[in-house]
């Protein structure tokens, strides 16, 4: 401490005042002595002390009352009561009213000094505690300001992405339509001056534009998945899977596919996004079992404490585990376009949606026997949003 600690001694006994003053000043403290409660109040109003040593029996005021009044003037003062054995009860009462300690007469100056030191330490600690609390408060405010700033930046970035996606959608489609349109126009209006190779080139050009259009649409779907707000709630996954299965069946009523969907599967997540996940996984299973005479698709789940593990299994063409790492990449395919159609965006979308929910995706398969796709979703208790 840079400043000398200031001690106020309040006692109507002259000799006690003198003794204490001598001893404390020798230890380097700054001392003021008064004989009455009023004096103590006046001294504190003028310039508050660090420590006040009060005799419990003062001529003009009850010691405990004085204690209360001094603390009202300055809550930081540590107060030590001096009491005789007869008034120990009062001294204990003083402790409950905010006194730091009491010392009994006859005074043992070592005990007095030790008590004063302890009181000063307590004061120092309280000061440091308040300082730390202040610092913590300022840090929290600073953090909140930064979070607000980051959120604003994120929102701005999201809006830019939205505008970009719209631009891609609108502006890229225009010239694409030109290429497709004029290609077809040449094919139709000038087919008589073209040989078969020429007509073939034009057809291939047209196919390419159709494909490009699909790629643009898929890119936009993928970016939409990252941009849109998530509204999580409990979802009946069994019902969702059954609805999607129904749609698949109605699109290809001729196909005979065994669907084993377990009952009572629930998940905590965004319903619209999870619909996309199941649509992609069940759709894939449906597609890759199209060459199997007795196709079988299963959907089930295992509930664990913090997460639920879901799986979609099929007995279709499967894939080579050597390439499993590529499965969830954007536009990455493990099969040729003439075997199975698709752009390779479905699993990338699944992975992104599951990631946003805080889950994991992985797959197992073997060529010719089928594939199983797993994903986890945190339960409501174990929830972590990304």
């Amino acid at each position: 401490m840079e400043e000398k600690a200031k001690i106020l001694i309040v006692d109507d006994d002259e000799s006690i005042c003198k003794t204490m003053k001598l001893i404390f000043e020798a230890k380097g403290y700054d001392i003021e002595t008064v004989k009455t409660g009023q004096g103590a109040i006046a001294a504190t109003q003028r310039s508050p002390c660090n420590i006040a040593i009060l005799d419990i029996r003062l001529p003009d005021i009850d010691g405990v009352d004085l204690l209360t009044q001094l603390l009202e003037l300055n809550a930081a003062i540590e107060i030590i009561m001096i009491t005789g054995y007869a008034s120990i009860e009062t001294a204990v009462k003083a402790l409950t009213k905010g006194a730091a300690a009491y010392i009994t007469k006859p005074l043992n100056m070592d005990e007095v000094l030790a008590t004063v030191n302890k009181a000063l330490e307590k004061q120092q600690l309280t000061r440091e505690k308040l300082r730390a609390e202040g610092a913590l408060r300022r840090l929290t405010e600073e953090l909140e300001r930064r979070v607000e700033k980051r959120t604003r930046e994120l929102e701005a970035a999201n809006q830019e992405l939205e505008a970009f996606a719209y631009s891609v959608s609108h502006d890229l489609r225009s010239p694409l339509r030109g290429i497709a349109g004029f290609g077809m126009a040449v094919l139709e209006d000038y087919s008589d001056v073209l040989d078969e190779t020429g007509r073939d080139y034009l057809r291939r050009m047209h196919e390419a534009t159709v494909r490009m259009s699909e790629l643009i649409d898929d890119m936009l779907s993928l970016s939409r998945v990252s941009r849109e707000e998530m509204h999580s709630k409990e979802i009946d996954m069994t019902a969702l899977a059954r609805t999607i299965a129904g749609e698949l069946r109605s699109q290809e009523p001729g196909r005979d596919v065994e669907l084993a969907i377990s009952d009572n599967i629930v998940a905590y997540g965004d319903e619209r996004l999870m619909h996309q996940v199941l649509e992609n996984l069940l759709g894939n299973a449906w597609k890759f079992t199209s060459k199997h005479p007795s196709a079988r698709i299963e959907f089930g789940a295992t509930e664990q404490e913090k997460e639920t593990v879901f799986f979609v299994r099929d007995n279709g063409v499967g894939f080579d585990m050597k390439y499993a790492g590529k499965l969830f990449n954007v536009f990455q395919r493990l099969h040729h376009a003439d075997e199975f159609e698709g752009t390779g965006i479905g699993l990338a979308i699944v992975k992104r949606i599951i990631s946003r929910h805080g889950g994991r995706t992985w797959a197992e398969g073997s060529v010719g026997t089928g594939a199983t796709f797993h994903f986890t979703l945190p339960t409501e208790e174990g929830e972590e949003k990304t």
Partner: protein, 147 residues
Amino acid sequence: MNDGLILLVEDNPDDVILTKRALKDANIANEVILARDGVEALEYLRGEGAHKGRNTSIMPEVILLDIKMPRMGGLEFLKIIRSEESTKLLPVVILTSSKQEKDVVESYSLGANSYIQKPVDFDQFSAAVKKLGLYWLVTNIGPFGGQ
């Protein structure tokens, strides 16, 4: 059927050629007036600028309107014609690349009669234009009692 005029408001020259070709494919031989943006389209309707002196009692049977154009876009043009007596009843079909919900909603709230997205695939585009043409020029009875 061949009497009605079509006002095509489109800035992309490729799309103009393709639209005209589609109309021809559908045997719709009506005259097509071209305006490259909202300003030229207004000049035509009002008989101003390059169309000064035209008989403004003759109005197009239908307006095929793109949204994104320079100077004055489709929606601004639509707002203006819907606020003027002589043009507020004209049938307007929005023909645009965008499928964005906000464009669809805004178009209808400004008074468009129909909204078609231009597909990339030419066959589909052609089929759409053909259906459009047949509907608005043949099936539909226009506000001016058919000319």
